[in-house]
Assembly symmetry: D2
Homo-oligomer: 136 residues x 4
C-alpha cells in the first residue's frame, strides 16, 4: 500500500466568505477529512479508536495558502505520512482543485491520548501494523 | 425583572459568505448566545446546568430573515420567554443591527433532558423560581 | 422525474459539539447541500445561477429535531418541492441516518433576487421548465 | 503605543466538539478577531480597508495547541507584530484562558492585495504611520 490516500470534497456555500472564496479557517476541516479517510483506507476507523479509548487531538497545525478554493469546487486532499508514529503522528497534505491547481500545503501533528488517563500513549499496535505494510 | 435580555455580538469575517453578508446558518449561534446570556442575567449558568446533569438540546428552530447582518456589524439579540417552562422552554428572539434595523425574528424550543437517563424532565426549580420573579 | 432528490453526507468531527452529537446549527449546511443537489439533479447549477445574476437567499428556515446525527454517520437528505415556484421557492427536507432513522424534518423558503437590482424577481424560465417535467 | 493588543472572547457552545473542548479549527476565527482588534486599537478599520480596495488574505497559518479552551471560557487573545510590514504583515498570538493558562501560540502571515488588480501591494501608508508610533 502507498503511504498516501486521496479524498475529494465539494465546497459548500457556507464555507465561503465575503472575499468570494473559502474562508481560510475552514481548511482545518478538510485536513481532518483527509486524515480520517487515510485511516479508513487502511481499515482504521477513528470513531472506533475513540470508542476504544484513544483520541487524537491536533497539537500543531500549519497551512500554506497558495490559491483559493471557490464555491462548488471539488477539491482533492492528498494525505500522507513520512515516518512511523510513536506518541505522535504527523500528516502532510496537499490540496488541489478540479483543474489540478495546487491550493494549499499543510501539516498537522496529533498526539495519541489515552482517554481514561488523559495522558499521551504510544501509537496502538493495530495502526503500526498497517503502517508497516506501507511503502515509503 | 423583565422577561427579556439583550446582548450584543460583533460579526466576524468568517461568519460572512460570498453573498457579502452573514451566512444564514450562523444565526443559530447568535440565538444560542442570546439565550445563554438571558439565563446568565437571571443568575443561571448553562455550563453549571450541564455539570449538574441537565442539558437543553434544541428541538425546534425557526428563523425569519428580514435583512442581512454584515461584517463588523454589532448586532443586538433580544431574547424573551412568553410562558413558564415545563418540560420544554421556548425563547423568542429579535435581532437588530447598530442602526436599529430589524434583521431577524426567531423562535427556538428546547427540551430539559436528564443527562443520566437521557430522558425529558421538568424544568429545574431554581430556574422556575427566577422566572416566577419576572414581569410578563 | 420525481419531485425529490436524495444526497448523502458524512458527518465531520468538527460538526459535533460537546453533547457528542452534531451541533444543531450545522443542519443549515446539510439543507443547503440538499437543495443544491436537487437543483444539480435537474441540470441546474446554483453556481451558474449566481454567475448569471440570480441569487437565492434563505428568507425562512424551520427545523424540527427528532434524533441526533453523530460523528461519522452517513446521513441522507431527501429534498423535495411541493409547488411551482414564483418569486419564492420552498423546499421540504427529511434527514435520515444510515439506519433509516429519521433525524430531522425541515423547510426553507428562498427568494429569487436579481443581483443587479437587489430586488425580487420571478423564478427563471429554465428552472420552471425543469419543474414542469416533474411528477408531483 | 505598545506593539500588542489584547481582546477577550467568550467560547460559544457551537465551538466545542465531542472531545468536550473547542474544535481546533475554530481558533482561526479567534486569531482573526485578535488582529482585527489590534488594527482597531490603532484606529484602523479592516472593514474600511476592504471598502477602500485593500484586502488582507491569510497566506500562512501556524498554531501550536498547548491546552484546550472549554465552553463558556473567556479567553484572551494577545496579538502583536514584531516587524514593520512591507507587502506582507506578520502577527504573533498568545491565547490564554481566564486562569492565565496558556492555550495556544500562533502566527499568521497576511498579504496586502489590491482588490482591483488582484495583485500584491505595499502596506498602505496610513498603517505604516500607526506602526511607526509603536514601541517594539
Amino acid at each position: 500500500m502507498k503511504n498516501y490516500s486521496t479524498t475529494t470534497i465539494r465546497i459548500r456555500y457556507g464555507e465561503t466568505d465575503q472575499m468570494g472564496v473559502v474562508y481560510h479557517g475552514n481548511y482545518a476541516q478538510f485536513l481532518e477529512i483527509g486524515r480520517i479517510e487515510w485511516l479508513r483506507a487502511r481499515g482504521i476507523s477513528y470513531k472506533s479508536m475513540e470508542e476504544n479509548g484513544v483520541m487524537l487531538p491536533v497539537i500543531h497545525l500549519a497551512i500554506q495558502y497558495k490559491a483559493s478554493a471557490k464555491y462548488d469546487d471539488v477539491i482533492t486532499v492528498k494525505t500522507s505520512i513520512k515516518k512511523t508514529p510513536k506518541v505522535k503522528i504527523e500528516f502532510d497534505y496537499e490540496i488541489t482543485n478540479q483543474n489540478g491547481e495546487i491550493l494549499t500545503f499543510a501539516n498537522t501533528i496529533l498526539a495519541f491520548i489515552n482517554m481514561q488517563t488523559g495522558r499521551p500513549m504510544m501509537c496502538p499496535d493495530y495502526i503500526l501494523e498497517k503502517i508497516a505494510e506501507m511503502e515509503f
